[in-house]
């Protein structure tokens, strides 16, 4: 049976308004043939997880360039666990120092893409590593 299209969410948690990268990645995912849900700005972790469940996504990509990722990213992971949907893969991107990446990966994030990552590389990684949940 042919695998269904991957459903991918691109989310902007917290108050950070830097959305240039998130919007470019959402477009690249759409061009790559994924079903994309872009949450828009200023989403609380609760809103993101609620939408992720509603839209039945396979993956959430979190974008943060304003320094609040060490609270926001783990909070999303925590809420996914609380809601019994910890099989949704969580990726991250933005301004995230090396030391924080280590901690976030240990907390359960599958991958963090840092500045300078290229679109084809990101899309390729997702195609190879993220599968539809059902």
């Amino acid at each position: 049976m042919k695998e269904r299209k991957l459903r991918v969410m691109v989310a902007k948690p917290g108050l950070d308004g830097h959305d240039r990268g998130a919007r470019i990645i959402a477009r690249a995912f759409r061009d790559a043939g994924f079903e994309v849900v872009y949450t828009g700005l200023h989403q609380t972790p609760e809103e993101i997880v609620h939408a992720a469940i509603q839209e039945d996504v396979d993956m959430i990509g979190l974008s943060s360039l304003a320094g609040a990722h060490m609270y926001l990213f783990p909070r999303v992971l925590e809420l996914l666990r609380e809601n019994g949907v910890e099989d949704v893969a969580v990726l991250g991107g933005g301004v995230i120092p090396e030391d924080d990446i280590t901690v976030l990966r240990e907390a359960g994030m599958k991958k963090i893409f840092t500045p300078g990552s290229n679109l084809d590389g990101i899309v390729q990684w997702v195609k190879e590593n993220i599968k539809p949940r059902s």
């Binding site: 691109v10 917290g14 108050l15 950070d16 308004g17 830097h18 959305d19 240039r20 998130a22 919007r23 470019i24 959402a26 477009r27 872009y38 949450t39 828009g40 700005l41 200023h42 609380t44 304003a66 320094g67 609040a68 060490m70 609270y71 926001l72 909070r75 301004v95 120092p97 840092t114 500045p115 300078g116 290229n118 679109l119 084809d120």
Partner: protein, 561 residues
């Protein structure tokens, strides 16, 4: 109206150019040109060479002229840097008000000549440090300001009657400005003496920077209140910093940055005139803020075109008579989006080139980014190098010796003309849509920017565009750079401070002030005086912002990509 070149000379130049082109074609048939296309960072194609032919329809006095004289292509003041250098104004903000106060003192001691404040995300978005929305964000990308107490601590020991202060704040601009005025008056400094700028430019928020609170139309009404108030009460204050910086950071081209910024300026001017204000009263206190990006010459042409465009628009479209109404005075920041996380020391070079472009382009004030900007808030050391960059340009490079050094360059003059022409076409499109407010509601500038940003990224991915250290000259080796970290304990301390302030203030007076503010919002009375009164009573930022939200509504990002 005479032209600078005569026909006989033009014909001789054309002949010689043909000879040169033949020579070139021979050379390229042996070994082709180095690149397929020679483009600026905005994807504009640049010719092999520029000659007087490229400026043949220019009239020196009409189009270029002298600094301080219409149309100001060469600079807004007659003396420019021969009289006084640009203001070295380093954007700074981190952690608590005391942390930032320390950074302010350090920068002033190291020679900066103007203050510039970066606020944290909760402050920028109108939330207090104890709001659930502020969790994890307190002090992380700028200073946390909740009440007048924080404002007092922020400027402690700084001579604000002598030095001007810029504050990068948008939806909560009236409240932050109110706190600043209250702070000054408590120190016995009159509002007729304080000088500075509030960014206060909501149109570009909807287009690019995206700090949101109330929807576009009420936001414009509030901005007009601040313009009206500032014009009457705070004569040395720039009421708006009409910004292109963020539009460029969001991914626009140089022409789009120029056009959208000037179009925003047109919208603010129009709104103030409709309020019944005299253009010659408020326009002299409109200021601008541009990006200085990677392409050295394109940026210089952009700055020159901006001055000439604004002068012509103010004089011809808005019939301003006061020469100061025609002046486009601007602050510049070097392009944050051009810096790389890879090989961060390369960023010192990028910033230096961009700063030089801003100086050669005649900026009134300048912020230079730090090498670690891509990784975190700058360390003191990195910020100091950025300041030294300006000082080296000022004292060692000779760039400030003559006014408009690239005036008369066939290349720069041709590029200036081109930028003006292309930007005016975009402004015409916006006028056809009904003006900037309507254009924003139709998502026109937002979509243009998203398209430019996507195209730019694709060019980098396909290596059509080189980014040194990222897609060329890549090394595996990591260069150690110490990164500034904001202490997690700060948030708790800030909340405790906020609670203390709340417990010590007069609750009844705060309540009354907020009610008065609400009434002004509804009735259309100017909001600034009620805001200053509320600030003096230590009303919190969010308490005041919530009054706006309850009357004007909360805007949500439409999430278009």
């Amino acid at each position: 109206m005479s032209l600078t070149y005569n026909q006989k000379i033009m014909d001789e130049i054309k002949e010689k150019e043909k000879e040169w082109e033949n020579d070139l074609n021979e050379a390229f048939s042996v070994s082709p040109e180095r690149l397929e296309r020679f483009i600026t960072v905005s994807d504009k194609e640049i010719k092999k060479i520029y000659t007087p032919m490229d400026a043949k329809s220019q009239d020196f006095l009409r189009d270029i002229g002298f600094p301080g004289f219409y149309p100001f292509t060469r600079g807004v003041q007659s003396s420019m840097y021969r009289g006084r250098l640009w203001t070295m104004r380093m954007f700074a903000g981190l952690g608590s008000a005391s942390d930032t106060n320390r950074r302010f003192h350090h920068l002033v001691e190291q020679g900066q000549t103007g203050l510039s404040t970066a606020f944290d995300m909760p402050t920028l978005m109108g939330y207090d440090s104890d709001s659930p929305r502020a969790r994890g964000e307190c002090g992380k990308c700028g200073v946390a300001i909740d009440t007048l107490k924080d404002m007092e601590d922020l400027f402690d020991g700084l001579p604000i009657e002598k030095i001007t202060t810029s504050m990068t704040i948008n939806p909560p601009a009236p409240f932050i400005w109110g706190m600043y005025v209250a702070m000054a008056e408590k120190r016995g400094i009159s509002r007729s003496v304080i000088g500075g700028t509030i960014q206060n430019d909501m149109l570009k928020e909807f287009i690019a920077q995206k700090t949101f609170m109330c929807p576009p139309r009420p936001s414009l009404r509030v901005i007009t209140d601040t313009v009206e108030f500032g014009t009457k009460e705070i004569p040395r204050w720039n009421t708006i910093s009409i910004s292109g910086y963020h539009i460029r950071e969001a991914g626009s081209t140089a022409v789009q940055e120029l056009a959208f910024t000037v179009a925003d300026g047109i919208a603010y001017t129009q709104a103030a005139i409709e309020r019944g204000l005299d253009v010659d009263d408020f326009a002299p206190r409109f200021s601008f803020f541009f990006n200085s990006h990677l392409d050295f010459f394109e940026e210089i042409a952009k700055f020159r075109a901006a001055r000439r465009m604004w002068a012509r628009i103010m004089k011809e479209r808005f019939k301003a008579k006061n020469p100061r109404s025609w002046w486009l005075r601007f602050h510049t920041q070097t392009a944050g989006c051009s810096l790389t996380a890879q090989q961060p020391y390369n960023n010192v070079v990028r910033t230096a080139l961009q700063a030089l472009a801003a100086v050669v382009g005649g900026t009134q004030s300048l912020h230079t980014n730090s090498l670690d900007e891509v990784l975190s808030i700058p360390t003191e050391e990195a910020a100091t190098i950025a300041l030294r960059t300006q000082q080296i340009i000022a004292e060692e490079s000779g760039a400030g010796n003559t006014i408009d050094p690239l005036g008369g360059s066939y290349f720069v003059e041709a590029l200036t003309d081109q930028m003006e022409e292309e930007a005016l076409e975009v402004i015409q499109k916006i006028d056809d849509l009904g003006g900037m407010l309507e254009a924003i509601e139709k998502n026109y500038p937002q979509k243009e920017i998203a398209d430019s940003a996507y195209k730019y990224q694709r060019q980098i991915d396909e290596k059509v565009r080189t980014v040194v250290g990222v897609n060329k000259y890549v090394t595996e080796e990591r260069m150690p750079v110490e990164i500034l970290e904001i202490d997690e304990a700060l948030e708790k301390a800030q909340v405790e401070k906020l609670n203390r302030v709340k417990s010590e203030r007069n609750h009844r007076k705060v309540k009354e002030c907020l009610e008065t503010l609400g009434e002004a919002c509804v009735s259309g009375k100017n909001v600034m005086s009620p805001i200053i009164e509320a600030a003096k009573e230590y009303a919190t930022l969010q308490e005041m912002c919530d009054v706006f939200r309850s009357v004007f509504g909360q805007y949500r990002d439409p999430g278009i990509y």
